[in-house]
Subunit: 419 residues, 2 copies
């Protein structure tokens, strides 16, 4: 609409007509604009849960406030608000409840060991939300404004919910956009809500829910059978609700069989795409003896372009090369490869003893080693280095943690001004 | 869960242990049960819109009441309620808002010319909702109970909103199931809401929105280009939200280009699947001169098993055969074919003058003739019989209408007892 108004106006101006906006009666559409933000503080603040408590593992405790921004097709983005956290109200014929006009992001906010509050590469999440929103006919916006909004939100709730006395802790931030107007017609929503909540989140990469036995380290993956998560020409690359609900059945079946995640395959040749809601990496030796870190490519648009995935690739390309000051002594440098690869290749590498390790990357699970893959009734066991993690997974995880928690200063760790 | 409890109990009983339920501490899971229904009537009844009014075309006016049924993973289905229509309230981290744990149905309730209120084959919609629900990890239920619930709902709102003074009118019924509990973890919802609303709905198959110029009859379809609606191993056969939102972008682009619906193709050979949110039928002569009614098959599970689609096929197989008492004089009987067919075949038939007509079928658009298909920058014009519709589309539509509005008595027209 914004684009349309501009186009009409410039057409009229080209024809020598002034005051085009008045003439065409199209109001200017507003972009997301954090300078209009208003803040209304809660009168009933909540209690911050203990780290690793059951409450944290339930993943239901949100902080005291939330961000809300309305978009309507006549005005564009309205003024953002930070307001007390609370229930949403919507019509039973809201588009998002019937037609999955919804998308989201997941990122964490970290309390650093230097006392500072940081986001990790929030520009990547904000840009991806713009892309995801457009993929389900929801409005776009300037991603820099969303980043400002995230910072403004954490300036309010960060100091209390991630106190300086608890360095090394994080909250999970969930921005979402939903078509929430009354609209049962099969068409793009004319009213939309962007909201952001911050949720207490457990350490899924190495923690254990209180009262349950510690699991052995490493995730067990079940290669998908008939179900296919995403397809060329589909929307597997976008963080939209439509990629999740339909995957839950396989996920639950896998759980019942004792597996942690589904490894999603595609096509008659069993291409490896992604696992659960994370990207998948494998380290193997080629038949020629080269050590490779391999993950699926982005070009077919069937996998999510994970922020952690991209960061793993960048760090590996910069640091796991011979001559790098980061490469630990006696550690072999790696060739980093993004290409289509198949379960048949993994199977062959396993039979020939060429698999070194495998891991998942993502915001929710961070870097988590993989200990086994079940494929066609065969259990492929994956080496786990020292028993808790493959070496490269542990090294990459440490490097990323150092950036997230301010042990090193790095441009990916974006400090939030709490003053 | 229900199944699991039963399994455990029978296992214990087999082992000679009585009172199995008490021992395993698993409460019996309840199925959907209309005998527990409670009704709470509105104190602020709404005004029934005029037929064909703008209000009807806005598709936002719901009747005075709605049905609600909660499901929780500890109890199963709770007692259903009919209560005043109103907004839903849910947590910002409700599963349905993030992970598209949602599915729905669409069916109509008709005020017959004999004064009776009817549903059209509601058993089909109810069974499909059970299937759709399971496909996105939502609970199942006895579909017969849902049918009873639809009837109970229309016993309350039918007499006022579809008065006997307006025979030939209908309302659109929208049952939906959403994962509405607080649950941001990527897993099957543990709390779910089934609800049903009744919406005023325009005649999309032949009406025109007030204040707009009447469109020429027939829908213009734009064959999809890079976007793919559904794929083998996916969920295109289920009525889940995930099939809709991601299709809106193509739909909106098509609209801007002057087309009414997208004709969804699949694969390198341009297989014709379905159109917009309807099934697609074509009538053509084969090269051998046989007259055929062709539509895509169900076996690849990429298209919705439309109730109207199934009814068209059944009626055509029963009545459009030589010797049938229904076959009008001088009208050629048809061969009814469900098979994969491609745009290349349609193109060839068009070039050779073998296309007779085409139409869409579905609850929202009923039977609507197709006048053109744009494919690879070529505009394939489809014959429209007398100018308003192909002959077979009009005949099938009349037969179906006669059943829906009680002009003939037929088992597909299920009468609602209004006493």
């Amino acid at each position: 609409m914004n684009g349309h108004a501009v186009e009409t106006a410039s057409h009229l101006i080209q024809n020598g007509v002034n005051a085009a906006k008045t003439l065409v009666h199209e109001p200017e559409m507003h972009d997301l604009d954090v300078s209009k933000l208003t803040v209304s503080l809660t009168k009933s603040p909540g209690k911050v849960p203990e780290p690793d408590s059951l409450e944290i593992w339930d993943m239901k405790t949100c902080t005291d406030h939330m961000v809300k921004v309305t978009w309507t097709d006549d005005v564009g983005w309205h003024a953002p608000t930070i307001e007390p956290y609370g229930q949403l109200t919507m019509s039973p014929i809201a588009s998002c409840l019937h037609y999955a006009t919804q998308c989201f992001e997941g990122l964490k906010v970290y309390r650093g060991f230097d006392g500072k509050l940081r986001l990790f590469r929030p520009d990547k999440n904000c840009a991806r939300l713009v892309m995801s929103s457009a993929r389900v006919a929801l409005p776009t916006f300037n991603p820099k404004e969303l980043e400002k909004l995230l910072k403004a939100f954490m300036k309010v709730d960060g100091p209390k919910w991630l106190p300086k006395s608890r360095p090394g802790r994080f909250l999970y931030l969930r921005p979402a956009i939903i078509g929430n107007g009354e609209q049962i017609g099969v068409t793009a929503p004319s009213e939309v809500l962007m909201f952001i909540v911050a949720v207490g989140w457990p350490d899924l990469s190495s923690g254990t829910r209180p009262g349950t036995l510690p699991k052995p380290p490493g995730l067990k993956l079940l290669a998908s059978k008939s179900d296919v998560r995403a397809w060329p020409g589909g929307f597997g690359y976008a963080k939209v609700g439509a990629n999740y609900g339909p995957a839950f059945v396989s996920h639950m079946e896998g759980r019942k069989m004792g597996y942690d995640q589904i490894l999603w395959l595609l096509g008659a040749d069993y291409q490896v795409t992604e696992a659960g809601a994370s990207n998948f990496f494998i380290v193997w030796k080629t038949k020629e003896g080269n050590l490779q870190l391999v993950t699926a490519p982005l070009d077919a648009k069937v996998i999510l372009e994970g922020v952690t995935r991209g960061s793993v690739l960048e760090l590996a390309r910069q640091r796991l090369v011979s001559g790098s000051e980061y490469l630990p002594p006696n550690i072999t440098d790696l060739e980093v490869v993004e290409r289509n690869f198949t379960m048949l290749e993994i199977e062959e590498a396993w039979e020939e003893g060429r698999i070194v390790e495998a891991f998942l990357s993502g915001t929710a699970y961070f870097i988590t080693p993989v200990s086994a893959i079940s494929f066609r009734d065969e259990e492929i066991d994956i080496p786990m280095g020292d028993g808790t993690s493959g070496y490269y997974a542990a090294l990459l995880k440490k490097w990323l943690k150092d950036i997230m928690y301010g042990n090193v200063q790095h441009e990916w760790g974006v400090v939030i001004d709490e003053e």
